[in-house]
Point group: C2
Chain length 95, copies 2
């Protein structure tokens, strides 16, 4: 299993556009083989912090996701609407 | 529901000591009322990045956790073994 946390920093005036794009991305990604969880969270105190918390059956499934049509189409568009680079980590469960 | 992501940056030579402390913290926290998930993850490429991903039934349950005997005893000790401040966010589920 691979856990992914991707913390994104949205431009405030682009928030509704970003959330629409995420809705499409989430819907299509949840249909992928090997996707256990793919959920978008919003910081309680700062609406511009949008964090994807993901769970994949394997690194292979995650790699296939990163090469999918919807990821390679939607994520570069999303990145242009962010105020700075995504803080992303891949994790193994320790405890 | 409240989701918490707490990203911690361990001093490399304190890793085994830190993990021992986390084991106790995780075991005691999972017994708390309102704790849905309390899991520690380690970055695949950087063993010093230790991230707690939590799920609480309510903000009240989280607040009680932050005041618990085990949290107020173990976390200040843990903080002294870190190389810099924890990056912590509280989230609502958006999608």
């Amino acid at each position: 299993m691979v856990k992914v946390v991707a913390k994104n920093f949205a431009k405030e005036d682009k928030l509704s556009e970003i959330i629409q794009l995420y809705k499409e991305l989430v819907e299509l990604t949840r249909k992928e083989e090997g996707c256990i969880k793919y959920e978008l969270y919003q910081d309680k105190d700062d609406a511009t912090i949008l964090t994807m918390i993901e769970e994949w059956e394997s690194k292979k499934a995650l790699d296939e996701h990163l090469e999918s049509e919807h990821f390679t189409r939607i994520v570069p568009t999303l990145n242009k609407l962010m105020s700075r680079q995504t803080d992303m980590n891949l994790y193994n469960k320790l405890i």
